[in-house]
Symmetry: C2
Subunit: 326 residues, 2 copies
């Protein structure tokens, strides 16, 4: 494997480069920062953390579906929107409570398919769509879903809290297949029954309650390395990843696999004393989890294998989101 | 005034007719109704009510901005999205906590303007945008905002709880002007300073805590009569409205005024013994509030003035949203 080429293809992967605009947007809201009193965590994490005054905090996130996927299959877009939103709450160690959606459709057929995809997501994950808004007469299709969840305040799994010395854990549901609409999707949910799925997304609640992780994210559009990069950037740390340790399915090119957005996949960090237990909780829930690397001092994310070592991201030169940079 | 013509123009007003699709959408989610365990109120109200196990409940709503407004002015769309979302929580008697947004923009300029409009809303209302998602490279502009709020479980102001015999109260901030992008918008906020605005949207929290209202909604796209119609439909009641009692600004055609979506405007119902106090709480906060009618048995919303009486909606024949019909 040519590591230099692999690193470059990850850096230039659309799932990664699309995150760069976050910095500009956050800067607009910096001007109104005094109004952020009850928000413990906001931009830059999978979900915002809202203090409601008690032991519990509310998690709040939103995700949209890329236009290309939406036009290819409104049903998948609706269903996929549920999956990514559930993952945003799961990644924080939270219990998802409810979703709302805003949809635009350019035909009654697209609108119905979108909604049926959403409804299938509700059935699978047991989290209701409780309201929203539909524009049934637009020129385009679009779908936005927001979700809330709940978690004990002292159990939240954030992405800006990794420490040098922590071990990096990748956990995937390997019982999946490349999805029908993108070479970078790994569908692990649409063909499984609700009880199985609900167990696999509950696993992060157990990890949160047992305080086994120091930080974590769900693996999303930037893929494993890109997602870990975002975690490092907001935590202001570096990392090294041993590529030979990364769980991988047979029959999928490894470069492609590293860019996959899985239906169920997490990159977590853990204190070395707790990392094995964290791995075993993931495994008991049916995921394949491995210690794949280590959080380091500094601002570089390196990956290596038997053939050598390469720096994928150097946050002193360029960020992914820009959040966490000076 | 030709009452028949006025009634017909309200029935056929786009702000009203666009609500009709809600029924189809809700029917898709009926199939997964068993998953709605912790949702006390869902579709059909301004916000969903989510039980989190304590005295407080979480309110959760989402609103999108019509494409026409968005293309006319991304800034107004961003700002207006905050206003309508704040109103969704205020209408339920809740305290808004935080918002998330999903935006699509067809140019960096449109994207920046959208975000600046949102940020101005944050500054005005003191409710932060804590996260979201931006598609900066779409063919179109779109904006979705979701909001959460909090309220004591026994204080929620719902829209499906009006009773025959209740009085109908309309409350408006009359210090406004027809907005720049639609003859049916009544801007009451963009030119006022934060302390003034925050007092006017806090008024519904006082009404909720004092239990002065039996039901309520914020007046939105369907205008005063259309919004009252939605309240009647979900409450399975009728109503009569005395048009001469409706607060109205000088210099705005009355037919137009009845279709206006005000920045700050509510239609509430109250027990006759509490209606005067409810009016006076609205007035103390700077709104102009009047008892304009009465909730009736049956399924008809009638309006009248000195010249006669007309039925605007007969829910036994046709609904607005279809929610609440047999």
């Amino acid at each position: 494997m040519n590591l230099e080429k692999l690193a470059e293809s990850i850096r230039n992967f659309e799932g990664v480069t699309r995150k760069r605009q976050i910095e500009d947007i956050v800067s607009i809201f910096e001007a109104v920062r005094p109004e952020y009193g009850n928000a413990i965590v906001d931009f830059g994490d999978d979900a915002a953390v809202i203090d409601i005054g008690g032991d519990d905090v509310i998690l709040f996130a939103a995700d949209g579906i890329w236009g290309r996927l939406l036009d290819a299959s409104p049903w998948w877009a609706g269903y996929g929107a549920v999956v990514v939103n559930i993952n945003d709450i799961a990644a924080m160690g939270g219990k998802p409570l409810a979703m709302v959606d805003i949809a635009s459709a350019n035909s009654p057929k697209a609108c119905r398919e979108l909604m049926e995809g959403l409804a299938e997501g509700v059935r699978k994950f047991g989290v209701p769509v409780v309201g929203g808004h539909v524009h049934p007469d637009t020129q385009y299709n679009s779908l936005s879903v927001a979700i809330i969840g709940i978690v004990k305040k002292d159990c939240v799994i954030r992405s800006d809290t990794a420490n040098p010395g922590d071990l990096v854990i990748a956990a995937y549901d390997m019982d999946g297949k490349i999805g029908p609409n993108s070479p970078y999707s790994w569908d692990t949910t649409s063909f499984k029954e609700p009880p199985v799925l609900r167990e696999s997304y509950l696993v992060t609640q157990e990890i949160a309650q047992k305080k086994l992780a120091t930080a974590g994210k769900d693996i999303s559009n930037p893929g494993l390395i890109g997602t870990l990069g975002m975690l490092c950037e907001t935590s202001r740390v570096g990392a090294t990843v041993d590529l030979d340790k990364v769980p991988r399915p047979e029959g999928v090119d490894f470069g492609q696999w590293l860019k996959v957005h899985p239906g169920t996949g997490y990159v977590f960090t853990a204190d070395p004393e707790k990392a094995e237990e964290c791995v075993s909780v993931f495994e008991k829930a049916g995921l394949t989890a491995r210690i794949i690397g280590k959080i380091e001092e500094g601002q570089k994310l390196d990956m290596y294998d038997k053939t050598g070592r390469v720096t994928v991201f150097d946050f002193s030169k360029e960020g992914i989101t820009g959040i966490g940079s000076e």
